[in-house]
């Protein structure tokens, strides 16, 4: 039991980091649709660089740079060139996927450095909780920090409130003196860097090594989890853990029900769709109306200006 929960937390960590990054980006009004490609290219880059240098940390830095660069292309083409974010994001997805396959070919099957385990003294000795939450490595602890920091930034700081403003109604934010497009650019780059770190977490920590299918479909799932999470960091994190749990469960049940072994690994995907149907149902929305204090957490409304271009007229 302890081990199962421990592996759910570990399996979900990269997804948490990626979804927090995407939540920040989308909250500012930009959709980075390239997650599937960004994750894969950054996972490959992280492994390749870490393999050459022999240091995992350098791999993480390189992956963050790759994620940030792809995000910067999306931000620049949307903000300066006024191109459609969905189209650019999709094309970049395809490009990054092909690039990862091409450049990463020679690394398939190699063994590279990995992130060392780092149980936190004292905390990891707490029965159950310690084993589940504090017997991990730096990547997992970083995922905790990402959740809390994103939440705190959004709802407890002044720049965080402004960030919500530029994604909700940029012209109103601009009228209040907020440099909308500059902030959008940097939040998109920040979100992209986090997606890159998530990619590195797959190839250097969770799954170890590089192969084409390493992060297959996880980028698309991350995009869906942000929607499921209603752009609220805590709910997004819940969605990521839920998906992580489904994955671990499906993996463990393969031994119990060998007859349906091929079906189980894909079960989390349709379940994700059902979860989306659920959070968009009237019933779920009404709960939010009943508890005004929980409005942010239970609401499922997208930032109103998400995906749009802001111009000074």
């Amino acid at each position: 039991m302890e081990a199962t929960f421990n592996s759910i937390i570990a399996a979900a960590a990269p997804l948490i980091i990626a979804t927090m990054g995407e939540t920040i980006t989308e909250k500012s009004g930009v959709i980075n649709l390239s997650l599937e490609g960004s994750l894969r290219l950054s996972a490959m880059t992280a492994f390749a660089i870490a393999f050459w240098v022999g240091n995992a940390l350098v791999g993480f830095a390189a992956a963050a740079a790759v994620g940030a660069a792809i995000a910067a292309i999306i931000a620049f083409s949307s903000i300066r060139l006024k191109l459609n974010q969905i189209a650019v994001g999709f094309v970049l997805t395809l490009l990054a996927i092909e690039l990862a396959s091409f450049l990463g070919d020679s690394f398939v099957g190699e063994r590279g450095p990995r992130v060392p385990p780092l149980p936190i003294p004292i905390l990891s000795d707490i029965p159950f909780v310690g084993k589940v939450f504090f017997d991990h490595d730096l990547v997992v602890y970083f995922s905790y920090v990402a959740i809390f920091a994103t939440w705190w930034y959004f709802y407890r700081t002044r720049p965080g409130l402004n960030l919500q403003g530029i994604g909700e109604r940029p012209e109103a934010a601009f009228a209040r003196g907020i440099p909308v497009n500059m902030l959008r650019f940097w939040y998109t780059v920040l979100g992209g860097a986090m997606v890159g770190i998530a990619g590195a977490a797959y190839s250097l920590d969770v799954k170890l090594g590089w192969r084409e299918t390493l992060t297959l479909n996880l980028g698309w799932i991350a995009l869906a989890i942000v929607i499921f999470g209603g752009w609220h960091p805590l709910r997004v994190a819940f969605g990521a853990y839920l998906f992580g749990a489904l994955q671990v469960l499906a993996f463990q049940l393969q031994d119990v029900f060998p007859g349906v072994a091929q079906v189980l690994p894909i079960a989390p995907f349709p379940l994700m769709i059902l979860a989306l149907v659920f959070v968009y149902s009237d019933w779920f929305r009404r709960i939010g109306d009943r508890f005004p204090k929980m409005r942010n957490l239970l609401g499922s409304e997208a930032p109103a200006a998400m995906g749009t271009v802001f111009e000074r007229e």
Binding site: R156, R158, G165, F174, A175, G177, A304, E313
Partner: protein, 488 residues
Amino acid sequence: MALEIRDIHKRFGPVRASDGVTFTVEEGSLHGILGENGAGKSTLMKILSGFYEADSGEVVLDGEVLHLRSPADAIDAGIGMLHQDPLVFLPFTVLDNFALGSPGSMRLDRKAAEAELMRVSGELGFEFDPERLVRDLTVGERQQLSITRLLWLGARVLIFDEPTTGISASQRIQLFDTLRTLAAGGMIVLFVSHKLEEVEALCDSVTVIRRGKVVYEAEMPVASETLVEKMFGNVFVEEERTTVPLGDAMLRVEAATLSEGTTRIEGLDLGIARSEVVGLAGLEGSGQRTLLRACAGLIQPESGSLSVDGIELTRASYREHLAAGVHYLPAGRLEEGLVQGISIAEHLVLASDDTAFFVDWKAADARAGEEIDEYSIKGLPSSAAEELSGGNQQRLLLAMIPDEVKLLLLEHPTRGLDVESAAFVWTRLLERRNHGTATVFASADLDELLNYSDRIIVFFAGSVFAIRTAAEIDGEELGYLIGGKVRA
């Protein structure tokens, strides 16, 4: 302290939106900026508030030349602008709207912000629940929140761009009181409007702008005729009220219960005759829209019946209503009435009942040209809907109404239009009335209701509060009824 505007020029392509505008406003003054739609008022105000950069010219406040490159610069200089549609964040709370964009430390101290909100709004006599969502506030309350915020940030000059659009009569009175108090307290208040009567009622001095130029400056009061002449270049005479004899019943609503959202109209009986004009009065959201939408077939009555010219339409769809000769013009011209991105000619093709598979674009352009002439639309057959001004959008919508309409339903038919366009709209509507069309229109403009209606239905708190014929009601009584009071 004085605000001086010196020789401001601003061009958009070939259009000179500001063409050497110069004037000065002294402190403690409530100054009207008057001009018809498209005269260049908004451009000038957006330059003052940093939204646009002027091509040339200077803005001087209190002897200091301002460099207004962005709204941040304008706010720093103490110039605040209230936009026609208050620029607030609907899903956020009142408190977050207040604090968003304000200077201060990294950590947002909501307790301190709330204390400031309460202090400043208390001084102005406004009341807010900080935890309420701004979505649930009326347009008037959103304005009050914006005013509170701008004053808190230290505004010395406040610009109000058409602030009475979309607010109720009582909120307008409150707004005007606030503006007077602010001016009396030593601020510079610019009141931008195309509504003569508001400028006359409120302002100490006025600048009239026409085609990007200052054409007239004066201390109030000034004769209305003078202002109208300066605004339009020709004197516009208000039409005498005309009536035609009413025909037999056109719309018949019996024991109908209509509900939509929080609005619920119960047991409504209403008969409207051929050639009758019925005005729907009431505060925004009192049920007028629900009745119009029910008559248009957009919502179905829960019980009761509805028929048009003897055709039973109680459970009929919107299409069946259209086929029966019902036509609805909603308030959101660009959102609900027109399609953004498509041209005048394309709109007219969409609206026509021609069912041929291929469109004859030559003929369509020719027809669009005719309609543009007939309805005096300022635009080309190829102009997209969103390029047209509000008045021209309404003209296009009028041109799209089929020839044979039995029941015409209109929501705020002249909201946001200048006097000339409003008069044009009504001339067209009355022509149709003369040919037997029954007209039902909702309006927040008391004069419009009194001028054109044969009967006025007053809504209050989601139900029909009173029905009066035009002959037995005057503006004062109508004002009372809209406020939910019966004059003693």
